[in-house]
């Protein structure tokens, strides 16, 4: 009984501690939550790599005094959220890795026009044809291969060759990544959707169990020799090299033959939601992304994307964008909203 009493006293101590923490938490919750965001603030739905976005936001906040609240997730998830939220969306700005997510929202009339000055800062070919989002940076699709397992001469020159059964068990893919979709769209547009579907099915069969959740994992697995070759965007390889150091790299990057359907330029862009009540601040943010200062952050941090503003040089580790030859037919309009790619992925049971 005495022990029971002791335990009850002990419990009381724990309980009072719990009550105090609970109340403290409640008080802080009331302090932090509630109330609309002040005029001098933005909510950014971010599908870009978080470190890149954070670096941009930090510089923007410092320059303008506008606070930016970030919600990060995959761009397709965020695009879907914005469509669910409709006119009530808390988001002011949407920043993505690829153009299709933006085109999807543009098609739903959820985006506001972008100020002409921001659009003029980058070539018109990398922004929305309807002027409702602006291109910020770009990446190029490429092969990554393990240099112990393969020689450069053994590599396919066209993305279509990856369907060849000789790559069975050697090819890795990350079909769940939105980066994969523009490649499918490009193939479907060049060779027809039936050919694209059989290509997807063959690639799926070749990949077998090497079906990875994301390009970071895929690139790392190629580098460690778990799989010989993978289809990625160039910057994943550079990011891995920055992470591991050059001495730990057992892989290399290889672009397809000039103009190949698998050689795609992907544009990362930003848009203002039509429902945003902070239009002026949002325009400032877009203008900052394509300003010399913003573009230099993209070029100089470890984002390894190509800045799009003329006059801002890319990270010197990258080959100059002008030396690359992606399929010229892959315009923003042709890459579209990704719905065709998504439906092909589902038909191939990869989506």
């Amino acid at each position: 009984m005495a022990q029971g009493g002791k335990r009850v006293r002990k419990a009381w101590r724990v309980m009072s501690l719990a009550a105090v923490t609970g109340m403290l938490a409640a008080v802080t919750a009331c302090g932090s939550g509630g109330g609309d965001a002040p005029a001098n603030s933005l909510v950014l739905y971010n599908g870009q790599h978080e470190q890149t976005t954070q670096a941009l936001v930090n510089a923007f906040e410092k320059q303008t005094g506008i606070t930016v609240t970030i919600r990060s997730d995959d761009e397709d998830v965020l695009a879907e959220q914005i469509m669910q939220e409709g006119s009530k969306s808390p988001a002011d700005v949407f920043y993505t890795e690829n153009s299709p997510a933006l085109m999807k929202l543009a098609g739903q009339h959820l985006l506001a026009p972008v100020a002409a000055a921001a659009l003029a800062a980058v070539p018109s070919s990398v922004s929305s044809p309807d002027k409702n989002w602006v291109g910020v940076s770009a990446r190029v699709s490429a092969l990554v291969y393990n240099t112990t397992d393969l020689k450069a001469s053994q590599l396919p020159s066209s993305v279509m060759d990856l369907a060849n059964p000789k790559w069975a068990g050697k090819l890795g893919i990350a079909p769940g990544e939105t980066d994969f979709q523009p490649i499918i769209t490009s193939i479907a547009d060049t060779y027809g959707s039936a050919a694209a579907l059989s290509w997807l099915k063959a690639v799926k069969a070749n990949a077998g169990s090497h079906d990875y959740p994301d390009n970071e994992t895929l690139t790392a697995e190629v580098n460690s020799g778990q799989v010989e070759i993978g289809l990625i965007n160039h910057y994943y390889w550079y990011r891995l090299r920055a992470q591991l150091g050059a001495s730990a790299m057992h892989s290399a990057l290889r672009f397809f033959a000039a103009g190949d359907a698998g050689y795609v330029l992907d544009v990362s862009g930003a848009a203002i939601l039509a429902s945003s009540t902070h239009q002026a601040a949002a325009q400032k943010f877009l203008a900052f992304l394509v300003s010399a200062a913003g573009q230099r952050i993209i070029a100089q941090t470890d984002s390894f994307e190509y800045p799009l503003r003329p006059g801002v040089a890319a990270n010197p580790q990258l080959p100059p964008l002008s030396s690359l030859h992606p399929d010229p037919a892959d315009t923003i309009a042709r890459l579209g909203d990704g719905s065709q790619a998504l439906s092909l992925l589902q038909q191939a049971q990869l989506g």
Partner: protein, 556 residues
């Protein structure tokens, strides 16, 4: 605290004298309440009903969501090839994990409870420790160790090592009270060791084995993070994808319905299993007789070391390894560790408070006024165990976007989701504590002129303090280790420890991710060990604690 009470925690209350369904005799006790409904104090009953309805709301939303899509759309979606694939995956995994976990758990429980293996108290603590390490962290450590750990093999390995304590706890408790004399009699009549064990011990622990296996099944059904890391496709990973991508919200709700049905079957089975276990609990044990290992102590210790090494050693040492690695020098560390810990702490504490407060009237009603209605309310509370966190979170989102927009992406929503998910845990703890209160004390207080509310506050609540503290601590710890619902419901601009960990590990920034994982494990393991010792001194950590803790560890 009696272990029988704790192992029978999810069992329905013992039959009340007076027969089933008959309005309980309580006229004298309800005296003084202004109003009663069918013999229950009106205020208490209404409060309990309101709480029960609130925790059932996600089910309503789920059905509404499905109805929104149209049953004509839903039906073919349920009976399509994908459902079959997912079912096959789930069944394969369930069979492998259940068999492996049962063998490991029974072996460990037998060595620890029935032999003279050295360091018994140490082993008792160590073998249940995996419960405090979230499965998504275990998955991450194994996956970062070797890319070969993936798919069915990886999922089986990680989930077996993470979930076997759920079988161990009830089996160890059953072995402790199993009648050993039967075994001796069987041996003296010429049975071999195995035959004697099969004929005398196994029947006594069958219910515990079954109950534990069903808890394993529930854990498997609700897990998301570990499977995503290990690239193993199950209902949760597929629902997450389909809902998020908006490819087919109808398909997502169709799969959710199947998942909830499977989970409810598991909960129902568990309720039945633990009921028969509770019926058995009163049997007098023939005293503890420990089998002398002799030289067998060497293989025994080696196998316990192997189990601890794989279940605890590998995850914790891998985590330690990543902690000592330099941060991947890509970009800056964007999520402040302290800030993330602050949010985790705040949401978890609020959820613990909410769940405990909500469960109190239901538990109190069930214990003090046993009857058909109060029993029903309590059982509905336990059924919530069958709702995976992902389903609860998605249902709440669906509801908020359409009906209560100010709650959308709010901290209140996340806290509410936690409170619903961990409501059964609070109920278990409070009930276990309330059922032991001497009623006379409350009656005395009442006879001395206290109002019912005053008597509750001055007598019942202080005496139930251990249960209240346990409930608070358990819900808190579970919320700290929760990932799936947090990913869906986290407010804009907020990163908790779990979401920050998730973000970095999916960018394979393992060294940075390990910091957040380490803080989660620190918050979960240290108070976890403390709590288990405090709740049930001298014995292995209480089953209620263990069973409940896996809710969070299971990644719900």
């Amino acid at each position: 605290m009696d272990s029988a009470e704790l192992t029978g925690v999810t069992a329905p209350p013992p039959a009340v004298a007076g027969g089933r369904g008959e309005p309980p005799v309580r006229a004298s006790r309800s005296f003084g309440f202004a109003r009663t409904i069918r013999g229950y104090p009106a205020g208490l009953l209404l409060l309990s009903c309101a709480v029960t309805i609130a925790v059932l709301l996600p089910v309503v939303f789920l059905l509404w969501q499905a109805a929104h899509a149209g049953w004509g759309t839903i039906w073919p979606l349920i009976f399509r090839g994908l459902t079959w694939t997912l079912l096959v995956n789930t069944v394969q995994l369930a069979v492998i994990v259940t068999v492996c976990a049962t063998v490991l758990a029974f072996g460990a429980a037998w060595l620890i409870e029935r032999t003279d293996v050295p360091l018994r108290r140490f082993w008792r603590a160590v073998v249940v420790l995996p419960l405090a390490i979230p499965d998504f962290v275990v998955g991450y450590t194994w996956s970062s160790l070797s890319p070969a750990v993936h798919g069915l093999f990886g999922a089986s390995l990680v989930m077996t090592l993470g979930l076997y304590p759920l079988v161990y706890l009830p089996v160890a408790a059953a072995l402790r009270r199993a009648d050993a004399t039967l075994y001796d009699v069987a041996r003296s009549l010429g049975c071999g060791r195995l035959t004697a064990m099969r004929r005398t011990i196994l029947p006594q622990i069958r219910a515990a084995l079954l109950g534990g296996s069903l808890m394993v099944l529930l854990g498997l059904l609700a897990e998301y993070g570990a499977f995503e890391i290990l690239r193993f496709q199950t209902f949760t990973t597929e629902i997450f994808t389909e809902f998020n991508l908006g490819i087919d919200p109808a398909a997502a709700s169709a799969l959710s319905l199947v998942l909830v049905l499977l989970s409810l079957l598991a909960v129902g089975g568990e309720l039945m299993a633990t009921r028969s276990a509770a019926a058995r609990a009163g049997r007098p044990a023939g005293g503890v007789r420990r089998y002398r290992l002799g030289w067998g102590v060497v293989p025994a210790l080696l196998s316990l070391c192997a189990l601890a090494g794989l279940g605890v050693g590998v995850p914790l040492s891998t985590l330690a390894y990543w902690l000592t690695q330099p941060a991947e020098n890509i970009g800056v560390q964007t999520v402040p560790l302290l800030g993330a810990a602050g949010y985790t702490f705040e949401y978890s504490a609020l959820a613990a408070l909410a769940a405990t407060v909500a469960a109190f009237p239901v538990a109190f009603l069930a214990v003090r006024y046993p009857g058909r209605l109060s029993r029903l309310l309590e059982r509905i509370g336990y059924l919530v165990q069958g709702l995976p966190g992902l389903v609860i979170a998605l249902a709440l989102t669906f509801f908020a976007v359409r009906l209560l927009y100010p709650l959308y992406q709010s901290a209140a929503m996340l806290v509410a989701a936690y409170a619903v998910m961990f409501f059964p845990m609070a109920l278990i703890c409070l009930r276990a504590s309330l059922v032991q209160l001497p009623r006379r004390l409350v009656d005395t207080a009442r006879s001395l002129g206290c109002s019912p509310l005053r008597a509750t506050l001055r007598v019942t609540v202080p005496l139930a303090a251990p249960g209240i503290a346990a409930s608070f601590a358990l819900v808190f710890l579970s919320a700290v280790t929760e990932l799936t619902a947090t990913l869906v419901l986290v407010p804009t601009g907020v990163q908790t420890l779990a979401t920050a960990f998730w973000g970095y590990q999916s960018e394979i920034s393992y060294a940075i991710a390990s910091r957040y994982a380490a803080v989660i494990v620190l918050i979960a393991v240290i108070p976890g060990v403390f709590m288990s010792r405090w709740l049930d001194p001298g014995r292995s950590s209480s089953s209620a604690f263990g069973l409940a803790l896996r809710r969070g560890g299971g990644g719900r």
